[in-house]
C-alpha cells in the first residue's frame, strides 16, 4: 500500500511539538513577569504608576532583558560557557532517557535519584580505590556506576513483577533508602569514603584520579558524547529491537501483550534495569566527568529534574536530548542573573522549569490559550457551513 505514514500521525506529532514550544514560551513569559514583580525598582515605580506609567514598563523591560540576557550569555555566550552547559546537560539527558524508557513501558520511574546516588557511590569507590591502569580504571569505574544504577532500578522492576508493588511507591522508597541509608552510611561510616585530609567536618569522598576521568576536548568531557550515544541506543532499542517492541506493547496494552505471549514480568524487570543503568550513566557524568567529590549534596535534584526532562521530551530519545540541553542552559545561566544590575534570584529558573512541565502536563491549558486566538476564523467557517 502507500509508503508514507498516515496523515493523522504526522499532525499529532506536529501538535505535540507545537504544544511543547508554546509551553516553553508561556513559562518564559510568566518567568519574565515574576522577575519584574520581584525587582525593587519596578516595585517602586508601581507606587506612582498612574501618574507616570512609563517608568514601570521601561524598568520591567530592563529587568527582564538584562536577566534573560545574562542567562543566555553565561550559558551559551562563550566557548567556556557552552562547554559548561553541555557538561551540565549530560547527566540530565542520561537520566531523562532512563525515565523516558520506563514511561514507554507504562512505568512511572520516580527512582532516578536513588539510582544516580548508587551510581555515584559505585563509580567513585572503584575510581579512587582500585589500582588499575588508566583507561581500564575509567572503564571499570563507569561500568560500576552503570551496574549499580541498574541494580537499584532492577529492584523496583523485580518487586513489580514478582509482587505487583507499584513502581511509584517502590522507587520513592528506594530513593529514601539510597539517600538516607546507603549514602549516609558510606559517607559517615566507611573510612574509604572519607577524605583523609578532611578537616571541614563535612563527610565527603576524594574525587577520582585523573586516570578515571573522562578525557576532555575544549572543556567538554567525553561523557557528553556518551550521553548522545545512549540516546541513539535507546532510539534503536525502542524502534528497531524485539525488546523495544515488547516494551512499547506492554506499556500500551499489557493484556493484549500477555495474550500475544509476551512476559510482562520480563519487560518490567528489564526496563527498570536499563532505566537504572541509564541513571547510573548519569552518575558517571558527575564522578568521572566533573571529578566531583561524593557528598550528601552532590546529586542535588538531578534525579527529579530527569522526570521533568522526560515529560518535556514526551518520552522520546530526541526529546530527552533537547529537554536536557534546555535544562542545562537554565542551570548554568540561572546563577548569572543575580550578579547583574537586575539582581534576579536564580530560583526564578526553578519556577520556569516547573511551569514548563506544568504546561506540558496540562496541554489543555496551552491549547485553550492558543484556541482563543484561533476562535474567530473557526466560527466564521461554521457559520458559512450552516448558511450553505
Amino acid at each position: 500500500m502507500t509508503k508514507r505514514p498516515g496523515l493523522r500521525l504526522d499532525r499529532k506529532a506536529l501538535e505535540g511539538v507545537l504544544t511543547t514550544a508554546a509551553a516553553i514560551v508561556l513559562a518564559l513569559l510568566i518567568g519574565a513577569v515574576l522577575m519584574a514583580l520581584s525587582n525593587e525598582s519596578v516595585i517602586d515605580s508601581m507606587g506612582y504608576f498612574f501618574s507616570y506609567p512609563w517608568d514601570f514598563f521601561s524598568r520591567s523591560f530592563d529587568v527582564v532583558t538584562t536577566s534573560y540576557g545574562a542567562l543566555l550569555d553565561r550559558s551559551l555566550g562563550s566557548g567556556e560557557g557552552l562547554a559548561n552547559t553541555l557538561n551540565r546537560s549530560a547527566p540530565l539527558i542520561c537520566a531523562g532517557l532512563g525515565v523516558s524508557l520506563a514511561f514507554r513501558a507504562g512505568l512511572f520511574n520516580i527512582g532516578a535519584q536513588g539510582q544516580i546516588i548508587l551510581g555515584t557511590l559505585a563509580a567513585s569507590y572503584v575510581g579512587f580505590t582500585w589500582d588499575l591502569p588508566g583507561p581500564i580504571l575509567l572503564l571499570t569505574s563507569v561500568l560500576a556506576g552503570v551496574l549499580a544504577g541498574a541494580l537499584w532500578g532492577g529492584i523496583a522492576g523485580l518487586l513489580k513483577a514478582a509482587t505487583g508493588t507499584h513502581e511509584v511507591i517502590s522507587t520513592i522508597m528506594l530513593n529514601q533508602i539510597a539517600s538516607f541509608g546507603v549514602l549516609a552510611y558510606a559517607l559517615g561510616e566507611l573510612k574509604s569514603f572519607q577524605r583523609p585530609d578532611d578537616d571541614l567536618g563535612l563527610p565527603q569522598s576524594p574525587p577520582v584520579p585523573d586516570a578515571a576521568a573522562f578525557p576532555e576536548v575544549l572543556g567538554v568531557h567525553m561523557g557528553v558524547l556518551l550521553s548522545l550515544v545512549a540516546a541513539a541506543v535507546v532510539w534503536w532499542l525502542l524502534t528497531r529491537s524485539t525488546l523495544g517492541f515488547e516494551l512499547r506493547s506492554v506499556g500500551a496494552n499489557p493484556d493484549a501483550s500477555r495474550t500475544a505471549g509476551m512476559s510482562t514480568a520480563k519487560v518490567f524487570i528489564l526496563t527498570m534495569v536499563i532505566a537504572g543503568g541509564l541513571s547510573g550513566l548519569a552518575a558517571t557524568m558527575m564522578i568521572n566527568g566533573d571529578q566531583a567529590s561524593n557528598n550528601a549534596s552532590l546529586v542535588g535534584s538531578v534525579g527529579f529534574d530527569a522526570i521533568t526532562v522526560a515529560l518535556l521530551g514526551r518520552g522520546t530519545p530526541l526529546g530527552s536530548v533537547l529537554a536536557g540541553f534546555l535544562f542545562g542552559i537554565l542551570a548554568v545561566g540561572g546563577g548569572a542573573m543575580q550578579t547583574t544590575s537586575a539582581g534576579t534570584a536564580p530560583e526564578v529558573v526553578q519556577v520556569i522549569q516547573s511551569l514548563i512541565v506544568l504546561f506540558v502536563a496540562a496541554p489543555a491549558i496551552v491549547r485553550w490559550i492558543v484556541r482563543q486566538r484561533r476562535k474567530e476564523p473557526t466560527s466564521t467557517f461554521a457559520a458559512k457551513g450552516v448558511s450553505a
Binding site: M1, L9, R240, T242, D255, R258, T259, A260, G261, G385
Partner: protein
Amino acid sequence: MQLQIQGLTRRFGDFVANDAIDLTIEPGEIHCLLGENGAGKSTLMNMLYGLLEPSEGQILLDGEPVTFASPKDAINAGIGMVHQHFMLVPVFTVAENVMLGREGGPVLNRGAAAQRVRDLSDRYGLRVDPKALVEDIPVGVQQRVEILKALANDAKVLILDEPTAVLTPQEIDELMGIMRELKAQGTSIIFITHKLREVKAVGDRISVIRRGKIVGTAEPTATEAELAEMMVGRAVKLTVDKDAAEVGAPVLEARNITIIDPRGHEVVKDVSFEARAGEVLGIAGVQGNGQTELIKSLLGLIRPSAGEIMLDGDDIGRYGPRRSLEAGIGYIPEDRSHDGYVSSFSVRENLVLDLYRSPEFSNGPALKLAEIERNADDRIQEFDIRTTSRETPVGSLSGGNQQKVVVAREFSRPLKVLIASQPTRGVDVGSIEFIHKRIIAERDRGTAVIIVSTELDEIFALADRIAVMYDGRIVDTVSPDIEREQIGLLMAGAGGAEGGAA
C-alpha cells in the same frame, strides 16, 4: 418532535465519513439505521449528539435549525443517547446514576431521585429497582438505567447505539418491548444496528448507510437478503458454504478441567472435551457460563485448578501463552480491543504482535523491519483490511477491520488448533462472511477448530459438533442438525428455570 437532517457532511482530512446525509425521523417512529462497521453510523450520531461538529449541512428540530456545541446542548434540545459502552458509575445505585449531573443544589435528595426513577419506570414499563447498585445488576438492566437516564432528561429522540450487542436473546426481546412502549408514548428512536433480524422485528422505517452515504430506505417487510445486499452492495450469503468435515484424530483434549476464579467461585466444573483435526467444535451458551475462562485456560492465560490439557499427546496445561502459541495454537480473543490488539500500534505492528520473535521477523535482538512491512502489505491485501496505510493505528479502524487484523495475524502461521471466541462480534456482514470462509478453509486444511459464540446463527453456520455450556459444565454435545429450540433449552440449563439465565 421531528428530527430532520439535511445534507450533513463530516470530513476528516481527505476522508469523507458522512457525505450529504438527508434523514427525517418522525415523532413516535422507530427509525433503524443499518450499516456495516465503518459505514459512518457513529460519525452521524456523534454529530447529532454534539460530540462532532458537522463540516456542512444542518440539523432541524421541528423545522428549527439547531447547532450543538456539546452533548449538553443536545440533551437540552431533547436528544438522548445510549452508548454501546455504558456510562454508569458501578458503585452508585440506580437512582444515583439517573440523577448524576442533575443533583440540583448542594444537598442530595435521594428520596426524590428514587421516586423519579419509580415514576419513569412505571410510565414506560422499565422494571428497575432504584436502590440496587449498578455493579450488581445484569447488563440488560444496566441498559435500562441508561435509557432511564435519557428519559429523566426529557429526551424526545432516543439514539440507541448497537444496544443488542451485549444482550442475551431474552434481554433483546425485553428491549424490543421497551422500545415499542416508548414509541407508543411518542418518543422517537434511532436504532443503530447491523443485525437484520432485529431491524425487521421492531423498525418502522429502515435507512441503510454505506460508505458514508444513505444508499436506500426500506420498509420492514423487505427480506433479510435485500437488506444485506443494500448494506454491503452485493448479494451476501448468510449461510456458510462448506463440505462435510473430514474428521481426523483428536488434536486437543481437555480432561476434567476445573477453574476457580479470583473470587473463589468455581466457574468451570470438571469439563472434558476433544477437538479433532478437520472439524469445527462449536461451544454454545449464554455469556457468563464459563466459556470465557475455559478458553483462556486453553491458551495458558488462566491456570486451571484441576485437569489437564493435551495437545498432540503433550500436556500443555502448564504452558504460558507464549509456549502455547508456539506449540501451534491460534487464538482470537473474545474482547479484541482488550486482548487482541494494541490500539495505539499501527496495523503493521499489530499484524506481528505474536509473531515478532519468529526467525521470519527478527534475528534475535533486532526486528526485520522490511519483512514486517512486506508482511503487512501482504496481509492487508489478502484479508482486504480497509486502512489508509499500514501505519494507521488499529484503534482508528472500524470494528470489522480491527477484527480482520487479529484474524489475519492468527492465520498467518501454521496452526494445529484454532481457538476463536466471538470471532465476528461487532463485525459487519461483509467481514463476517469473509472471516467464516477463512475459518472453514482452516478446518479443511486439517486444523482442529474451536468456536465459542453466543450467536446461535454463527454456531449453526460453522460447527460440525456443538457443545453446550451452562453453569460451568458442558451439559450436552449435539449435532448441528438438532432443532434450535432444543439448543435453547440446553443453554437455559436443560429445561431448568427459563428466562432466568443472564
